[in-house]
Subunit: 352 residues, 2 copies
């Protein structure tokens, strides 16, 4: 129920779009919602005595069901009213006819790709927050999916930073395919994956994608356009490699952030033989410097970063040993996880 | 630190009131803050090498300390700059001279009363949310404390409802005393009590109260005025007593609330031999009725209540067996906990 109600809006002038479609479907109850961009279907077990369908306000039914004690409930439709009854309660929810509910498009019957849900979730969690969060550039407001053989390459960028993760599919795809999926769809998918276990099936039509997981389907339009050729900006060589501890790096950035004031600027200096120095200062607040003991290979180096861009990455990794690679104070820096070659994060320094 | 920084404001035009006073004090560090109505002092252990004091921005130092790894830190003052240094970091926080910090008044040396912190916390949690939350009527915007012998009677009301709890003091007070304490003070006290264990000492001066718990003191002005003679409105007799289950009552009220829409009106009917029926309806949403099996003594009875007023009480009780007492649809109703005679809650029905 929760899965379905999240997609619909509240206060949409077209009332039926604030509603969930409740419908008997081959011995189960099918719940559907759509905001015309994303649609969700989910099925729940039931004993069907008579076929029926209607739509009810999503917010109301969701709050109602969340508050319900767990016992058996009988659902009956009386024209556009949904009656819910059990031993102790009796409820009538005013709804609308199912006829007015928009049709959620069907997508092909044949899954294009299959991926383990936990592999998928890990890959999404390391990338999707890097997408541009306004839609003036629609291509980079979405998440890039590139299927090739048994690999799904997921990328997100806002032109100041880029995250890329390669996930492993359950079996090779029959043909290469690249698509851009709206961020909102992927965020919804991430919630649907939740703590579930199993395979996610991915289906495509010309302009739609469908994800199927457990008893739930998520359908979304694709974003039209060409994803920027981001491979070109990934540097091939660096002057300095810093192997450091993720949690200590987070602590140091947060401490520095308090003194960076309005600028978000934090200075990172690699000092061979000593470690990494994270520092910020402002006229009003004062100054802060943290030295993190780290292995530094290569030359002494120094660059200024927006600390939020680095924290976004560090906060979404699990491993503690990470590598920061620098060229100079004007070229892209890279973060990788030590011992894992399926992930990279590129971030541009700030030129002062 | 957290205890102290919560009292101060942010963005007070008088900068020193956004600051915390840091001061060496007899081998410890004393931290103080005040908003001129409430003051907090707390002490932390330290090895003092030289006496010193200054004030630093509360928000900054609090966020800084919360983010600090737990190791030893050396504090040094350089004029109005506080330097914090450990093996790995070095921080200068710009502050102000201690001379400009307002004096937090001293209250008498002799505790007026002493109470176990968990008894005190329980009593506060069952009452303080019932106070009026605007200050047009200053007396009832505060919490009433009445000390007599070994009892502390705590009451709060907004004229539509009243909560009263009698707590037990550790020893009888030497003289009877009644005061009104600002709600904000009591809410702050509640947080200071936290999960700590031990006695709370209560001190008074003419117009101030001081609570002392563990290493922390909370000082506040008292509210001038006469608390309403609320005893007069507590009914002596009822027509109907309903003994029911608190959690089921909460569930039923929340379900009804979804259908009460904008009115907050929920109908409660006591049906002897059957139980308590909780119902609400609206033209837009529909209707909901829950029957809770309950022991009903006395006559069939019926009244309409603002469900939020009943939930406030039920949500703050721990016991499951509660008693709702009704007279009729225009007279105050009462909620008590079965088997406990130190608590009562009065709520006025809504006349339609």
């Amino acid at each position: 129920m929760f899965v379905v109600s999240r997609v619909v809006g509240v206060g949409n002038p077209l009332q039926v779009l604030n509603n969930i479609l409740v419908k008997t479907d081959q011995g189960r109850i099918k719940l559907s919602s759509t905001n015309l961009e994303i649609g969700v279907n989910t099925w729940i077990g039931a004993k069907i005595e008579e076929e029926g369908s209607l739509t009810v306000p999503a917010k109301l039914i969701n709050e109602y069901i969340n508050n319900l004690p767990t016992d058996n409930v009988t659902l009956t439709t009386q024209e556009t009213v949904l009656n819910l009854e059990s031993e102790n309660y009796n409820t009538n929810i005013k709804g609308l006819s199912a006829d007015d509910f928009p049709i959620i498009p069907q997508v092909s019957d044949e899954p294009f790709a299959k991926i383990d849900s936990s592999e998928f979730k890990d890959a999404l969690s390391e990338t999707i927050w890097a997408a541009a969060n306004n839609e003036t550039q629609p291509e980079i407001s979405g998440i890039y999916f590139n299927f090739e053989e048994d690999k799904l390459r997921i990328a997100a960028t806002d032109r100041y930073r880029l995250a890329e993760r390669v996930a492993v599919l359950k079996e090779p795809v029959k043909m290469m395919r690249e698509v851009i999926i709206p961020s909102r769809t992927i965020n919804e998918l991430y919630k649907i994956l939740g703590t579930g276990v199993g395979d996610v099936e991915i289906f495509f039509s010309e302009s739609q994608v469908l994800f199927k997981f457990e008893e739930t389907e998520l359908i979304s339009r694709l974003i039209d356009g060409q994803y920027p050729p981001y491979k070109e900006i990934i540097p091939k060589a660096f002057s300095t490699n810093i192997t450091t501890n993720r949690s200590e790096f987070i602590h140091a950035l947060k401490a520095a952030a308090l003194f960076a004031s309005d600028s978000y600027n934090v200075n990172i200096r690699a000092i061979p033989g000593e470690g990494m120095r994270v520092a910020a200062s402002s006229v009003a607040a004062g100054e802060n410097t943290t030295l993190i003991k780290s292995e530094v290979h290569g030359s002494e180096n120094n660059a200024i970063f927006n600390y939020r861009y680095i924290l976004d990455c560090l906060n979404n990794l699990k491993e503690e040993k990470i590598v920061l690679k620098l060229i100079n104070d004007a070229s892209p820096a890279m973060i990788e996880v030590e011992g894992r070659n399926n992930y990279l994060y590129i971030v541009m320094p700030i030129k002062i």
